[in-house]
Amino acid sequence: MEQGSVSKKPAVVEEWEPRIIAFLCNWCSYAGADLAGISRIQYPPNIRVVRVPCSSRVSPYFIIKSLQRGWDGVLVSGCHPGECHYISGNLIARRRFAVLKDMLEYIGVEPDRVNFSWISAAEGERFSKLVREVVEKVKALGPAHRLVKGE
Amino acid sequence: MVSISNPYKPNIAALRKITTENNANDIKTFEVVFEDPDLAGSFRYTPGQFGMISYFGAGECPIGIASSPTDEGFLEFTIKKVGTVTTALHNCSEGDRIGIRGPYGNGWPIEAMEGRNVVLVGGGFAFTTLRSLAKYILHDDNRGRFGDLTVIYGARNPGELIYKYDLEDWEKRDDINLIVTVDKGDSGWTGKEGYVPTILKEAAPSSKDAIAAICGPPIMIRFSIPVMTELGFSPSDILLSLEMRMKCGIGKCGRCNVGSKFVCLDGPVFTHEELQGLPKEY
């Protein structure tokens, strides 16, 4: 673009898309996500999936480190209570997530940034709805700043 | 205000060759060449000195220089995969760039060794700077300045022996008395078996007009020194290279402070006599 002529190209304001990290338990939620894919169910591409053996494998370090690294949202999904492949993994994790969610909210991190859900291997449709819901909520919050390093 | 050079600024170097040294392949030798050509020529060091190796993003760690000053144009570092930086280095491939600061430390006292018989006792992968010293002594320009050279080197098992290619060359030479041992042999092993201190006692190198250098795990050192003393080596003729946690390499960060000495500045090589004067905190 020489200095002289300035052509009026429509300013494509690239709409900000949130980046969301999703920890999916291998036996249920990951399978649910897989089912959504196989059944060609559309859902926003904002999530990046990390497969974990069980929702109880997700330590608060993973979630807080993700927030620190600038992920705009975190989703952790495991088997429904009672259906855990390891019997009580999700039940132990449920207490941990409850304390973590309350504490992060207390510190001032927006509640919708960190989400927990139970998705079974058969709930492909529900998984896609969940992802859409989380993406909408995080998009409403805007880019993450609190706890982000180097902000 | 006179501007002083920054001792923390590393020189960039490229990994030209990476050779795995042991079967467990957690010990590799890295052949390194400085990017800045005239630095390659001016990087003067003596055997026993160490460099601070940087893997940018992981940090720095002190590694003894394994090559001999007689090797032109490159440096060698033998590194065991233990912590963050060493793991990052082990994941490197040839051509990758690292940083090198140094050379640091006093190194083996070459002048004190000239004209005398030299006994080198090494254990495990701490044999690196002794190998540097041995290669230096064996080099044609230097061999004449030293008397008999005895090298006793041991490792846990044959797979853990490093610098096998050097050991083979040294076996063929007649101006070096090489004794290699392993704590526990395996089917293919035909050489000596036994801990280094016992083999040292067996070999019983004469202490007449001789100086000894020991470098290995603390337990090997603890049991070798009494043998040396029995053989008549005086505390001032037993040299040791200390292994301490280091971060700066230039005597400022305080980690390697033992008594009023800094192992990175006043060491890592100390005579047994000097060590007797230092508090037992190494």
Partner: protein, 340 residues
């Protein structure tokens, strides 16, 4: 030696004059304690408070400092040193024990073949305006370790609080340069100087100097294996309070942190009291418990450093006595050592 007088209400203006030519760091009232910070105007400085919570070390040897930036450029790596080529600095209102601390820090970081450039660059452009201590605290013991409440070591201009005014004693040529742009200072009268002298004596008297320092270094030399060390450390929990607040603790750690633009090599405070300070890759730790660590801190300050530099590595500021969570009092430790 020129001695001036300035009214207390003129001091903020004096600092504003300095701010025009220097970056000025002065004690600021941080609510629960005083803290040395950069001031944008003289009115922010508060000279009435006691010694700041952390010593002046935190300005010239900050807790976290980038010593190198590594950019992953196209043709490989470039290292770049952050350089603050801004105005010269002035540390204003520094008590003599902190100024002495900086003298010892200079001695250490400038010694040997390798100068600590990050510190030396800052120290080289820094002038010190000292503030004499009219009311030393019960926990201060500078006089017992070779200092004094009106000490001048490491100070370019010394202020003495005479009540309504400050006596200004210009001690060095750096001090001259600082005072050049400042007018409206009248010369001190003999009476002023006499009052200052009397205050100095009173301050000296107020300090308790019964600490047996004489012969401490020599005594410690032979005490490495003494059973005293088994008792002395028992209540210490191994935190970093005494080292981080101390003007003469300089140990540091170097780590790399990755950023979006490359890698930052960061120097940060560390202390021999932490468990991992001397922990080796093999798992061996020459100082495995609190006993060895406390012994190291005492031996380094009162035996090893004096042997190497001929002066104690303690300025008697009393911060470790006041702030230790379990009231481990270094004065008691010294007395125990001398009574063994």
């Amino acid at each position: 030696m020129k001695i001036k007088i300035v009214d207390k209400k003129e001091v903020p203006a004096l600092i504003d004059r300095l701010i025009e030519r220097y970056r000025v760091f002065a004690p600021v009232d941080a609510g629960k304690y005083a803290r040395l910070m950069e001031v944008a105007s003289g009115s922010e400085a508060c000279l009435e408070l006691q010694n700041p919570k952390l010593s002046s070390k935190e300005i010239l040897f900050p807790q976290t400092e980038i010593i190198l930036r590594i950019k992953k450029g196209e043709e490989g790596l470039e290292t770049e040193e952050p350089s603050e080529n801004d105005k010269d600095w002035v540390l204003f209102g520094v008590h003599p024990c902190d100024a002495k601390g900086l003298v010892l820090t200079d001695k250490f970081f400038a010694s040997g073949d390798y100068k600590d450039k990050p510190y030396m660059d800052k120290r080289g452009k820094t002038s010190i305006v000292g503030l004499a201590c009219n009311h030393p605290r019960a926990t201060c013991f500078c006089a017992s370790v070779g200092g004094s409440p009106f000490g001048k070591e490491g100070i370019d201009i010394l202020l003495v609080d005479l009540g309504e005014e400050y006596l200004i004693e210009i001690l060095t040529e750096r001090g001259e340069r600082m005072i050049e742009g400042v007018h409206g200072l009248r010369d001190a009268s003999d009476d002023d100087m006499a009052r200052a002298e009397k205050m100095s004596e009173e301050a000296e008297k107020a300090l308790q100097t019964d600490l047996p320092i004489e012969g401490l270094s020599e005594r410690l030399e032979g005490m490495f294996e003494d059973p005293l060390w088994d008792k002395v450390h028992l209540k210490c929990v191994g935190c970093g309070v005494c080292s981080y607040l101390c003007p003469t603790c300089w140990c540091f750690d170097i780590i790399d942190e990755e950023t979006s633009t490359g890698v930052e090599r960061i120097r940060l405070w560390d202390t021999c009291q932490f468990t991992q300070f001397t922990l080796q890759g093999s798992g061996f730790n020459p100082r495995p418990s609190g006993k060895e660590r406390m012994r190291q801190r005492i031996m380094h300050k009162f035996c090893y450093f004096p042997k190497e530099y001929g002066v104690l590595a303690c300025t008697g500021c009393g911060r470790c006595v006041r702030e230790c969570p379990v009231n481990q009092d270094i004065r008691e430790t010294i007395k125990e050592i001398m009574s063994v």
